[in-house]
């Protein structure tokens, strides 16, 4: 079985942050359905999903653009965040707050995310020089 490198783990985390974050903000009801959350009973759910979504996106932007010490820490945050999401999902499922299927889905997603966060945050992640050079030149043009 090939080992999962820190770079691949980081890219997977960023892919989730940059897809789930904007999707949650722009289409919270759809995201709720994907997460198997019963939006019909929860009128305020879209508002909460939007608040969650923008924070998820902010974490992705942070991990992408922050300088290296911060970047490393934000990737470690991912492990804490996703582990907390998994615990919250199990807690909500056990109490009957959300359907069991939603709880299992979220707990699995959170556990995988926490594992990726550990891999990505534990090792030094190098950004391709062409990416940093491109970012710098765009800023210099402004």
């Amino acid at each position: 079985m090939p080992a999962l490198s820190a770079g691949v783990a980081e890219r997977l985390i960023l892919a989730v942050r940059f897809s789930l974050g904007p999707l949650s903000y722009l289409a919270p009801r759809f995201t709720g359905r994907v997460m198997l959350l019963p939006a019909g009973r929860n009128d305020a759910m879209p508002y909460l999903v939007r608040l969650f979504g923008i924070r998820d996106l902010a974490l992705g932007v942070g991990a992408l653009l922050a300088p290296q010490p911060t970047r490393q820490r934000i990737l470690r945050y991912s492990a804490v965040i996703d582990a907390a999401d998994a615990v919250a999902a199990v807690f909500a499922g056990t109490r009957g707050d959300i359907p069991v299927a939603a709880s299992v889905e979220a707990a699995l997603a959170g556990s995988v995310g926490a594992g990726l966060g550990l891999i990505a945050g534990a090792l030094e992640v190098r950004v391709p020089t062409w990416w940093r050079a491109g970012f710098r030149s765009r800023r210099a043009l402004k």
Binding site: D43, P46, R73, A92
Partner: protein, 124 residues
């Protein structure tokens, strides 16, 4: 706010006029919101520098979009009018605070570094 959302989501639910017994599923997204708010907020406590600058800029973005989310919730009737007004006011205050932090010296405001003179020779 993040800690309360994480550990006592029912308190925030009541502030938003959401009955925890009628809508128990709301506690789960509140906890997801809470953990992200706490961890993003910890960066604001760091000493001045690039990390704090980044956190201040991110905070401004987050709170500005929170205001927009609260307005959308009010317009679409996702939140009761009074709760939406409370949420908009809180997020609006946070925007002003973030803006203040951004404009204060040694915070998130980008500064103009003096141009380097590549022709001069140090120590010459």
């Amino acid at each position: 706010m993040g800690s309360v959302g994480l550990f006592a989501p029912t308190l925030l639910m009541r502030r938003l006029s959401v009955n925890p017994k009628e809508q128990p599923g709301m506690a789960y997204p509140f906890r997801m919101f809470g953990i992200r708010t706490v961890l993003i907020g910890t960066d604001l406590l760091r000493p001045d520098g690039l990390e704090r600058q980044h956190a201040v800029r991110v905070a401004l973005l987050i709170h500005a979009t929170d205001v927009f989310a609260a307005v959308i919730a009010a317009v679409r009737g996702e939140l009761p009018r009074r709760a939406a007004l409370t949420a908009t006011t809180i997020s609006g205050c946070n925007v002003l605070l973030s803006l203040g932090a951004w404009l204060l010296p040694d915070s998130g405001r980008p500064t103009m570094a003096p141009p380097r003179d590549h022709n001069s020779v140090r120590g010459a």
